[in-house]
Amino acid sequence: MSHGPADDAIAGRAPGDRPVLDPALAPPFPIAALPVLRNLQLRKNVAHATDVIQAKRAHLVAEKTDWQQLRTAAAGIRTHALENLGAYLEQFEARCTAAGGVVHWAADAEEARRIILELLREENATEVIKIKTMTSAEIQLNPFLEADGIRASETDLAEIILQLGNDEPSHIVVPALHVNRGQVREIFARTMGLPELTDDPEALTAAARNYLRKKFLSVPTAISGANFLIAETGSVAVVESEGNGRMCLTLPRTLITLAGIEKVLPRFQDLEVMLQMLARSATGERMNPYTSLWTGVRRGDGPQNFHVVLLDNGRSAILARERQRQTLRCIRCAACMNACPVYRQTGGHAYGSVYPGPIGAILTPQLTGMRYAKSLPYASSLCGACYEVCPVKINIPEILIDLRAQVTDQERHEAVRLFDPMYLGMRIANLLFARAWLFHAAQRMARIGLRVFTQRDGWIHSLPGMGAKWAQSRDLRGLPRQTFHEWWARRKEVK
């Protein structure tokens, strides 16, 4: 493989052109998807990776005869935890504090960043090592810390690839799945000063091991996320594969865990359900290599200063909407994005959020209070593959439709919508569908009107307005001379 200067652009991006994952700044999904759709290498990488995980997942789920029962139990536990979130958060706080941890509460991203920065300043930290945490990406922690002179070093292999490659995550479990081995080689060779590096994944992995080992042994502060918070015990659980998580959780003097308030499970034993599903759903393994659970501080074992930052940042508002509350059941397995035929074509960056795919399409706009990312609820064909694989039974298509209704209700009274072809069309269609005679008249008019566009072969090859979007890649058969109801009426007359 050749690695010319063009490879400098990760997966085909123009150099320095970093994907925008801030919902307030990102372009709408259909626009953001365009450069990706032209990037055949990236689409190939995404399709390959998602096909592999999906096949492995399907195999392991088929082997598990009680999978549907586990889904029922998991959904039940998560629903119960959310319905009683206040009590469980307080219980978690009390138990964690009793075990020597310090619990902080952050109403929004800004407050969470400030709390973490203050904690790091108390430690006089100049560098902090991090386990992959989507929540820290959600609050854009790294650039904030770097602006304050604290280097945030990612330690997950995929996150290193992205950090060194000036790229952004495109998946919540395998964040660099849009990058292939040749591209990883190029990034590592350039940034680690290893011109002889080959594109063998073993060699690349070894390079990352050597690069990080010194950091693990020397940097005294770490930041992690949490897969689960256990209310009963005040424990935190983190699942991972590489061991970088265990490094961050045990070697430093100070550990700060950032967790969304929705991550609470009532009991330790609830893990018997969640952890039978998480790895199978996420990576197609019966169990991920490492699962760590710790409770506050233990003398002589692991960090002696432990802080948990509980983050709201829009979650309590989602909780308040009863039909959409199920969004918060999510355990971040990413099975929905692996199964999604839209994600398969676009990868994650087009979603303009650290949470891509179907779960991102419902979570992102809700986290912004429906102020941004309003194109995401439409970034789905509603095929239902996401719901089918979701281990906690989040009915994503139903929520997508609810959010579309919310967007429409926000927009429908805006003056500009009077001329919006979608709104106009929907309003007219509603008038027609309410009265059969009007509907039938419209059918006849359409039959005449479309005749202009109908070619001699009886098909329409190009259309104006919104129809042009259809005609981009598809013809439309010209309208038949007789509708079905006309045929039926005539048939009855003849009889």
Partner: protein, 265 residues
């Protein structure tokens, strides 16, 4: 032709007095009347006394799925009232049946119209997608059809997941005389239609379509069939654009075909 039925005359007796009403759906009425004619031919051949409500229009799916809930309310209300007295409602479109099963309950609850909700609850068990009606209600999988062509079956997402049609389509197709069925790879992957998705996200939709077409073309079938003309409009439109030679056909039309040809009712 009689000989074709010899192994299954029991059902002829069972369904002798079956009555059903046909909800053709707005887009089939306008764009695919041949599907409706095929359903009539098929069901009448099977002895069903078919009725058609002339004032029917739309189930509201397009509005609901695009976020126009208020508009979907009025269509749901209209449809439930229109069909409250039917013995059975047959709909040759899996997505419209899915609309009623998945979305009407919440819509009607939101409307807060208790009597309407009760009417709907009473109606719902009598609502059938075409293949459900044939297999579950009529108890027949051999409909005496003849279709000597290579055919591949595309499972629409709504049929596959919402209605869980399972092996009903393949049971029906496998009993068709002369047919050569070729399985479609990645049958559980969406074709990219998704209603207004195909316009709002036209480029992504087209990319999904291209992937589906590739699988379809690899079957080398003459026809791609489905229980939903919306997918077929999408697939067929692209096949025509690409001069691919493969055609789309609603499964009702295959099941309605007989050896003595297109006997127009």
């Amino acid at each position: 032709m009689e000989a074709q039925y010899s192994d299954s005359d029991r059902w002829l007796y069972c369904i002798a007095v079956m009555r059903a009403s046909l909800f053709i759906t707005c887009y089939n009425d306008t764009l695919f009347p041949e599907t409706g004619r095929a359903v009539v031919r098929l069901l009448e051949r099977l002895g069903v006394e078919l009725d058609f409500h002339p004032r029917q229009t739309c189930c509201g799916q397009m509005h609901a799925n695009t976020g126009f809930r208020a508009e979907a309310f009025s269509q749901a209300r209209r449809l439930v009232r229109m069909y409250q007295d039917v013995d059975a409602l047959v709909i040759p479109s899996s997505s419209c049946v899915a609309m009623m099963r998945d979305q009407y309950p919440a819509l009607l609850d939101e409307l807060g119209d208790e009597p309407l909700r009760r009417q709907f609850d009473a109606l719902l068990p009598r609502v059938y997608e075409l293949s459900e009606f044939l297999i579950d209600r009529l108890g027949v999988d051999d409909v005496g059809a003849y279709f000597p062509h290579r055919v591949t079956y595309h499972a629409s997402c709504h049929g596959l997941r919402s209605l869980a049609l399972g092996n009903r389509p393949s049971r029906l197709l496998s009993k068709v005389r002369g047919i050569q069925l070729i399985p479609l790879a990645n049958i559980d992957r969406c074709c990219g239609f998704g209603g207004t998705f195909s316009v709002k996200n036209s480029e992504v939709s087209s990319a999904m379509l291209a992937a589906k077409l590739q699988d379809a073309f690899e079957t080398q079938a003459e026809y791609c069939t489905a229980l939903d003309n919306s997918c077929l409009m999408h697939l067929g439109g692209a096949m025509h654009r690409q001069c691919a030679g493969m055609k789309t056909i609603h499964m009702a039309e295959i099941l309605a075909s007989t050896q003595d040809g297109e006997a127009q009712a």
